[in-house]
């Protein structure tokens, strides 16, 4: 049959206008005709195709179909047997396209197959849409299962590189400060990634990219629209403000080997959650941008939900911890207050009955000291609370160490003498430190108080200070019962269980040491302890030295 017989005015119009390719194949395996669309897909002119054996045309197949198969399929159809629709990967103009070929027989009045008509349909868009939907479903499933952020991000980037056939893809989340993006997931051939990371000296995962003015990243974020860049070197440069990295950009671009980069916003409704970045070896079109942007809107919702959910979980955990901390503080403080309250109330009651003035005054003094102790405990508590809230306004004064120690020792000496303990000070030189006086005072009182409590009768306490680089190290050493090595790390934790039935190791000092640690660390110093059970302990802390005033 000649094509001319098919040709009527309307048929010609249709034949020429359809976007699907129509190829007529004769039973002798030659091409009968090909419409304009088919010629376009094949990249050949009509004259080049017509009359040639169909297996020579090969439809731009990656792996040409063997002659035998062609002949076989033609015979099948000629024999009236159906030929399944097939999908092939074709390369037209260097572009990978997916085409579906539907072959149908053309029969004459007697039922004999006189020609085979092949519809060649470019279904690339449909395939891509299918994949997009599949990926979104996967992401949603993961999110419903309660998968971790990392899993979801990885699924997205892997999906983008494998299904959407980008050479690389990455997900960035917008940081709280809204000034930078953090890379949460990366998908690219691992060999290329390793090379690039080695060169840049920076890891891709977790990388924080600043939002520099005018950079493609910033444009995506601010405009909330897709941005396509062909200038890969500029694109890489825009990820950093470091000079040396920017200088390496051309080398990195070469290693990564992409031709075109695209960034789309990850949107949860109108809220920008982050961006998706992708790189391709071919030129990306607005269609690609649209597709990726659409994906970004859907994926954005899933990402947002996952992030919010994890943030919620974290906030809940933090809250539970704080709640427990609050309970511990309440229990510890009320516990610590019990002894001085007992002393205070007992002393005052007895003082009220005591007729002898001297004895009465002794009792009242005892009561007053116990009151001071209660004050200190509550003061410590407030300190810890303040510092934990980081609201402690650090009053940085220059405090003379020798003077401060003198004041404290003077206050604590009566106590020490009662237990026949000697306090010795050995401050090498007059050191000035940067701290606040009350803080230092509290720390010293705490340490010396402990040294007295846990010391043997007739024992010694020695206080030393020396310069160690830019810091002054102050130590309080006692000849007391010491602390077991296992308990050392818990000491400064403060809120460890006082309720453990084991003997009081440093039970009463719990809050004080924690407060001390917070204060010292707030001024940039360190606090620590060395101890030998049975022989004694040495508590030490460091504070920055204030520059000496020039006389």
């Amino acid at each position: 049959m000649k094509l001319s017989q098919l040709k009527s005015k309307n048929h010609t119009k249709v034949y020429g206008a359809v976007s699907d390719g129509i190829i007529l194949v004769n039973p002798d395996y030659t091409i009968g005709d090909a419409n304009p669309a088919a010629c376009k897909m094949l990249g050949r002119s009509r004259e080049e195709i017509v009359g040639k054996p169909c297996y020579e045309i090969n439809h731009g197949l990656k792996r040409p179909c063997p002659q035998k198969k062609w002949k076989c399929s033609v015979r099948e159809i000629s024999a009236g047997r159906s030929f399944p629709e097939t999908v092939h990967e074709h390369f037209y103009n260097g572009d990978k396209r997916y085409v579906k070929i539907i072959a149908s027989p053309i029969q004459d009045e007697k039922g004999k197959v006189v020609q085979i008509v092949e519809i060649v349909r470019d279904i690339t868009e449909d395939i891509m849409l299918e994949r997009e939907v599949a990926l979104l479903l996967k992401v949603n499933n993961l999110q419903n299962k309660g998968a971790k952020q990392e899993e979801i991000f990885a699924a997205i980037t892997e999906g983008l590189t494998s299904l959407f056939e980008y050479k690389l893809s990455a997900i960035y989340l917008l940081n709280r400060d809204r000034n930078s993006l953090t890379c949460k997931s990366y998908s690219i051939d691992s060999k290329i990634l390793t090379k690039a990371e080695k060169l840049a000296g920076a890891k891709a995962l977790g990388y924080e990219a600043p939002l520099l003015k005018g950079s493609p990243l910033t444009k995506t974020v601010e405009a909330k629209k897709p941005v396509i860049t062909s200038d890969i070197i500029e694109l890489i440069k825009s990820h950093t403000s470091e000079k040396y990295l920017r200088a390496l950009a051309p080398a990195i671009a070469k290693i990564v080997g992409i031709k075109c980069g695209i960034g789309v916003p990850l949107l949860a409704r109108d809220k920008l959650v982050g961006t998706i970045g992708a790189g391709s070896e071919k030129e990306l079109t607005t269609k690609d941008a649209e597709r990726l942007a659409r994906f970004g809107r859907q994926a954005g919702l899933a990402v947002d939900r996952a992030v919010l959910y994890e943030n919620l979980e974290e906030a809940y955990r933090e809250l539970k911890e704080l709640d427990k901390l609050k309970d511990d503080i309440i229990s510890n403080v009320s516990h610590e207050l019990k002894t001085p309250i007992t002393i205070c109330s007992g002393a005052i009651e007895l003082a009220m009955e005591e007729k002898d003035e001297k004895k009465r005054n002794e009792l009242l003094t005892m009561g007053r000291e116990a009151l001071h102790e209660q004050n200190r405990i509550v003061g410590d508590l407030l300190n810890v609370a303040k510092v934990k809230k980081k609201a402690l306004r650090l009053k940085s004064e220059t405090v003379n160490l020798t003077k401060a120690v003198e004041v404290v020792v003077h206050e604590m000496r009566p106590r020490a003498t009662k237990s026949e303990i000697e306090i010795k000070t050995d401050l090498l030189e007059s050191l000035d430190v940067k701290t606040d006086f009350t803080g230092l005072y509290n720390v010293l009182i705490n340490l010396i108080d402990n040294a007295i409590k846990f010391n043997k009768k007739g024992g010694k306490i020695s206080i030393e200070a020396m310069q160690k680089g830019e810091f002054a190290e102050i130590s309080v050493t006692d000849t007391g019962i010491g602390i077991a090595e296992d308990n050392l790390p818990k000491l400064f934790d403060g809120f460890y269980q006082v309720d453990s039935s084991s003997s009081r190791v440093y039970g009463g000092a719990g809050l004080g040491l924690t407060a001390a640690k917070e204060i010292i660390e707030a001024y940039g110093g360190k606090i620590g302890v060395e101890s030998e059970p049975g022989r004694g302990s040495r508590f030490y802390f460091t504070l920055p030295i204030a520059k000496r005033r020039m006389i």
Binding site: T342, I343, L350, E369, K418, S503
Partner: protein, 124 residues
Amino acid sequence: MARILLVDDEPEIVVLTKIILEKEGHKVRVAKNSTNCFEKLKVETPDLIILDVMMPGDNGWAVCKKIKEDKKTQDIPVAMFTVRTSDDSVEKSYESGANAHINKPFDRKEFLHIVRGLLAKAKK
């Protein structure tokens, strides 16, 4: 009236409690810790032992157990005297064989009432 052994490491508590008990006419000996306590027990058998829990070395409960296990001392009434006021702590006191558990801070009248009670029981 009675001989009381007071075991507590807090000097102020000791002073005050001693005064209170002496005003009632009792004779009070003091021990600072577990070792001290057993030293004093070797020398003289008291009519009542008042025992603090939170002490360096063996805590009061451990001391109480030892006292109650020793034939020579098991009949002496023991009152735990402590800031550990939780239900668990009270249970621990009774588990270790104590005859009473007195909380700190304490009400003087109640304290003396318990002391009287324990001494009266022991006499029988």
